[in-house]
C-alpha cells in the first residue's frame, strides 16, 4: 500500500512563497494566473498487509502528529494499492 500525502498552508495563513511564485509567473506573461499556494508532498510506503481502513487511520495519525503543524497547515491524502 502506498500513501500520497499533500500538506498545504491553511487558507487563513499568508503564503509568501506562493505569492512570490505568482508574481514571477505574471511577469513571465502568464496573465491568467490566480492565486498560487506552495505545499509539501510525501510518498509513504506501508509495509505488511494493512487493510484500507487501518492504513487510513495510520496515515491520518502520522499526518496530524508529524507531517503537519496544525496551527498553520492542513493535509489531504490518497491511498493506492500498487499493481
Amino acid at each position: 500500500m502506498k500513501a500520497y500525502v499533500y500538506v498545504s498552508l491553511k487558507k487563513s495563513v499568508l503564503d509568501p512563497q506562493g505569492k512570490t511564485i505568482q508574481g514571477a509567473l505574471k511577469k513571465m506573461g502568464y496573465a491568467d494566473i490566480g492565486e498560487v499556494r506552495q505545499g509539501k508532498y510525501f510518498e509513504i510506503t506501508l509495509g505488511g498487509d494493512l487493510q484500507q481502513e487501518q492504513a487510513s487511520a495510520e496515515i491520518e495519525r502520522i499526518a496530524r502528529e508529524v507531517l503537519t503543524n496544525p496551527v498553520i497547515e492542513e493535509f489531504r491524502y490518497r491511498l493506492e494499492q500498487p499493481d
Binding site: 487563513s12 509568501p16 508529524v66 503543524n69 496551527v71 498553520i72
Partner: protein, 231 residues
Amino acid sequence: MKFGVVVFPGSNCDHDAYHVLGTVARQPVTFLWHESHDLQNCDAIIIPGGFAFGDYLRTGAIARFSPVMQAVSKFARSGGLVLGICNGFQVLCEAGLLPGALMRNAGLKFICKFVHVRVESTDTPYTQACARGEVLRVPIAHMEGNYFCDEPMHARLQREERIIFRYCDAEGRATAEGNPNGALDNIAGICNEGRNVLGLMPHPERASEAELGSMDGFRVFESLVGAMARQ
C-alpha cells in the same frame, strides 16, 4: 542551582549559551544530549539556537520527538523553567509547550542583524530584573521567525500579558519598520500560561558581553539567575 543546555544534532548556539551561563553568569551548567531521558537534576533548561535535525520537515518538527524533549515537556508542565532561544523557540512551539508557530520570514530571506525589542512584561523569571518598556538591542539570525497564531489565541496572549518581547525601533515604538520578519503584532517572544516557559527569536546569549557589541541580552540571564536565587 544548575542549568542544562540541550544539544540536538545541528544545535549551534549551545556553546554560546553554556559560555554565558558558566563564564559570564558564573553558574553551574551542563550539556544535555538529545538522547538523554533525564535532565540531570537541572533547575532550568535552555533549548538553544541552531538547526536541530537540519530543520528538516519543519523547524523543530523532528527535535520535539527526541527523548530529552519528553523529559523537558514533563519538567515544563510541572512548572520547571525552560527558555527557548531562536530554534529553541521553534522547538517549544512544535512541542506544544508554547502556542502558535514560526513561519518563513515575510521577506523570504535569512535575516542576521541586530534589532531592538521592547520588554512588554516583567512578570516572568526571564524579565523580572528588566523595566517594563525597556528596549534591548539584541541580534536575530533566522529564516523562520515570523510568529503566527490565530486571532482567539492572539487575543488571549494579549489579555494574559504573555507577549513578553515585541520588535520595535530604537526609541521603543513597535512599528512595521521595526518588525524584521513580518511577525504578527511584532511578537518576538511569548511565555506559557504558567509563565515558566519562554520562547524568543532574538539571541540574548550573543549579546551578553561588551566585546560582542551589546550586553543587553544579559538582562534575560541576570533576571533568570535572580529569580532562581529567590526561589
